[in-house]
Amino acid sequence: MNTDKLQIALLGNPNVGKSSVFNQLTGLRQKVGNFPGVTVDKKIGATTLQKGQNATVIDFPGTYSLYPTSSDEKVVLNTFANPGSKDYPDVIIYIADVTNLERHLLLLTQVQELNIPIVLGLNMSDIAERKGQITDIQKLSKKLNLPVISINGRTGEGIDLLKKAVLEVSKTPLATIDAYSFQKNDSEKHVIQEILNSENIDNPYQASLWAHHVDDLSFLKSDTKENINKIRANHDYNDMRFQIDETLLRYNFISPLVQDIVKENHQLESSSATDKIDKIVTHKFFGPVIFFALLLLVFQSIFSWASAPMDWIDGGIANLGEYFKDILPEGWATDLLLDGVLAGLGGVLVFVPQITILFFLISLMEESGYMSRAVYLFDRLMMKFGMSGRSIISLISGGACAIPAVMATRAISNWKERMITIMVTPLISCSARIPVYAILVAFAVPNETVWGIFSLQGLAFMGLYLLGIVATLLAGIVFKLILKSDAPSFLAMELPSYKVPHWKNVALTVSEKVNTFVTEAGKVIIVISIILWALATYGPGNSIEDAAAKAEMELQDMNLDEVASADYIAAKQLEASYVGILGKAIEPVFRPLGFDWKISIALVTSFAAREVFVGTMATIYSVGSAEDDIAPLRQRLTNAVNPVTGEKEFTTATAYSLMIFYVFAMQCMATLAVVKRETKGWKWPVIQFVYMSALAYFGALIAYNIF
């Protein structure tokens, strides 16, 4: 075996603390890649086994067995059933929970039959100790015929021994491991034997996996699949029966073994801390109340804690721009650097506080074990809308910002439920829509009080939010009907004991999310913002200069002060730019919604971020210098009259139409960039953009004709 470049697979059941061990092994030397063809993240890290001996560690998704029920588990199967895979390990570090050994040994006995050297790490030994449980490690090692090390993923205890054992098993030639004596029936024996012969492979368990999972194994060539299917049909192969038989037979080996080596010192108290907590947390009434209180906290903190650092980032980028403007020579390159690249970078970094806070809180919920209780409580409800219990976290976070919300869908293991959650989350009104709603509601809805206490404008605001929520749920139902699922959707899971979160894991989750967003989605965001900036700054030929000159001529008769003059010139320049031309070109499309070319321009620029709509409208209406104050813009909109027809340019119907448009429209390049990153391709963001735009268009059309 080539030990220069040892490849180690980290394998184990979900919730076993595998990521803690991964972090202990690799520290910060880790990165995230993809498994071929699927949207499952592959965490890869480097570790030093001993001086001069480095190894690559791949952290595989938590898996119960080689019979996958989700796309995460399919990744594991596709790697371990394929010795030709570039992820196929030289050595496996298998992590098992010592307090729950029976279940955790199932997958171990399966991969063991693939004849890959394995080191078994027993995690949670501290908890076992507290419970008074004693495990005979030497006996276990002897019975399983592999090295067994007691470790603690949190403190790093035993990690050095683990590394040493890995080195040892990689060097000693592998003793053939006796396959567990299955009383395979004739059909299975024949199928396995024929696959071994015809496909030229030598491991019976590998052949068995090929027979069982032929449709799930993406690496098999079509003639191989044909061959296997023929063999299966010839021998009347019943895969479900075989799976249950195999698993039960393994337990027949495992259960007595565990009973033999694990000694409980004293009886467990009848009601442990977890039971006491769950009595309240999963209570019919208090459970949901506690959950929504927690989510309110999450929501509030994204909203309020993030706003200060977001302002610092905005301010910092602006100051940096001012600083460079002074020291760099004037010219297009400087403009590109400052107004294009630097502004784009600002547009990326401004999301970092929200992502940081959301994932800090989410990983606290995951690490403590609370998240699976939330799934227990809400799975039924979300199932109606094609989603999983975990989706509720994304939907509610979407009320602050869709970006961290879409990123949070990673924890949903069922592909279909995850896709639906990603597709519908941006319909929840996010904080970027607030400035847009604010100006439109202030314009269209009278500032009156109804029934004594309710502000009419407040009710309109709430109506827009509710419309978004209803659309989200309805879209979920529609996608549930359309999308095909790759694995059955069902709820059957462990509710792990509560644990104190491990801070290092929380910190690593947060930094990984921020890092992925900045480096991967960030690229797309910067490119699009440079394009938008160029379109708004340049026009064909000398059009911008000509427009400015013409505007100055007109200004001579207008008697305006300096600020108003600058605003007027800016408006004319924007109109002459490519964005202005584009806005006028698309005006006919939006005319039925009551949008003129000015609004069309704002629709184009607000693709950068929805709140840009307000700024662009202000510029076009020559009140660009007013910045955050919406009163001047509102005044202009009220007074604006079409010079040709004499009709009002901006009517109440236009305002309602725009409100509806912004409830539905996918006017956010950053979200699209994140969806592209999470779904690993342009297909889903394109579908999302098209369906949300269509919804926005027809919604606005209806609204315009009603009001």
């Binding site: 119960y64 067995s65 019979y67 029920t69 729950n100 029976e102 279940r103 199932l106 479900m240 799976q243 249950i244 698993t247 039960l248 337990y251 467990l268 442990s272 977890t274 039971d275 769950d278 999963t282 209570h283 019919k284 459970g287 949901p288 699976s372 799934v375 227990y376 409580l377 799975d379 039924r380 409800l381 199932m383 059955p488 069902f490 709820l491 059957a492 899971m493 462990e494 509710l495 792990p496 004991s497």
Partner: protein, 83 residues
């Protein structure tokens, strides 16, 4: 007086009563439960249920599990009762 064995699905097991897993009607759910260590012969009891026909909170050998209401209908247990 005698002892009789009854076959009931998890969703119909009275709270607090212990049943022994004996049969799976759905193969996929059955195989996931087996993977979780809930295989025929294991004792389970229902601790509580989420509202509106929501998930069932199970305990077996001091471990907790959640299983959907529909899923619970496919798992059959034997219970004993005195006549």
């Amino acid at each position: 007086m005698g002892i009789i064995n009854n076959l009931v699905s998890i969703d119909r097991l009275p709270l607090g009563k212990i049943g022994i897993i004996s049969e799976f009607k759905d193969k996929v759910i059955g195989s996931r439960l087996i993977e979780l260590g809930l295989y025929p012969g294991k004792p389970v009891s229902v601790i509580r249920k989420a509202p509106f026909k929501g998930a069932v909170y199970l305990k077996s050998d001091n471990q907790s599990f959640a299983i959907g209401h529909q899923e619970a209908k496919t798992v059959f247990l034997t219970t004993t009762s005195e006549k």
